[in-house]
């Protein structure tokens, strides 16, 4: 069972890395948000895999469902903010938001 846990957690860490790499290197706001989504996939995989290995699937499942609900709410709000950013700056470039400084 430990090797199964190792496999799942190693792949979850890969997803986290892919998401963080996207957040660090990309400039398009929608792309950045896709990066956040990839990170959230890694987190839900880690949650459920741990529950599965420790025979606590029901608890892990309820946590994952809570996480998915939070994620949907976050996505809806963030995409609305992205649309407003586009209306203001006529671009999806994150660097144009530096005008908000000072």
């Amino acid at each position: 069972m430990n090797s199964t846990w190792f496999l799942y957690m190693a792949f979850a860490a890969c997803l986290l890395f892919v998401g963080i790499y996207c957040l660090l290197t990309m400039k398009n706001v929608i792309k950045l948000f896709i990066g956040i989504e990839v990170i959230s996939k890694g987190v839900s995989l880690a949650l459920l895999a741990t529950g599965f290995v420790k025979k606590n699937t029901l608890l892990a499942q309820s946590l994952v469902i809570t996480f998915i609900v939070v994620e949907v709410s976050l996505v809806a709000t963030a995409l609305a903010i992205i649309i407003n950013i586009y209306r203001h700056t006529k671009s999806l470039d994150i660097r144009k938001l530096t005008k908000l400084k000072g």
């Binding site: 890969c14 998401g19 290197t25 996939k41 995989l45 029901l58 309820s62 999806l92």
Partner: protein, 160 residues
């Protein structure tokens, strides 16, 4: 075990495609496919409710929201991503996998996790009776999301 590795590889592969693809619509579709793979994995882990949520909500609803945003912003190709990030990615990823494989096994033995117990009862009992406070939190978050949408798309008054 082989199926699990295939599904996990598909999940990571489509996630990589989602972040490296130049076309935003292709990125959104890749993200949906990654969610589909994750949903099938959840089914394999005896978690059908989480699988259904993942496939219907994350692969379905969130993809629709992404498509809608991409259509409303119509700014494809507007932002030029650096080519260096795409070129360097495979190298950095291979290095990360090596570190991941070396470190993860030791880490799993040290990090505390839930104790191994065989839990009785059904999923409904756990969700409605043990995690009631989570459900209240979920309701609050959904309401917060609805009100934030209303606030963000509120029409301006004439005198503003």
């Amino acid at each position: 075990m082989i199926w699990q590795i295939i599904l996990l590889s598909g999940l990571v592969l489509f996630s990589i495609l989602a972040i490296l693809s130049k076309d935003l619509i292709k990125s959104a579709i890749s993200l949906a496919l990654a969610s589909l793979f994750l949903g099938i994995l959840f089914f394999q882990m005896n978690a059908p409710y989480a699988g259904v949520f993942e496939i219907s909500v994350v692969a379905g609803l969130i993809t629709v929201l992404f498509m809608l945003t991409i259509a409303l912003t119509k700014a494809e190709g507007d932002v030029r991503e650096s080519r260096l990030a795409r070129l360097v990615f495979p190298l950095v990823f291979v290095v990360f996998i090596l570190i991941d494989v070396l470190v993860m096994k030791g880490l799993l033995q040290k990090v505390p996790a839930l104790p191994e117990t065989s839990e009785p009862g059904a999923f409904g009992d756990v969700l409605w009776k043990q995690r009631t406070f989570d459900l209240i939190g979920q309701l609050a978050i959904i309401l917060a999301g609805v009100f934030s949408m209303l606030a963000l798309f509120r029409k301006r008054n004439k005198d503003e």
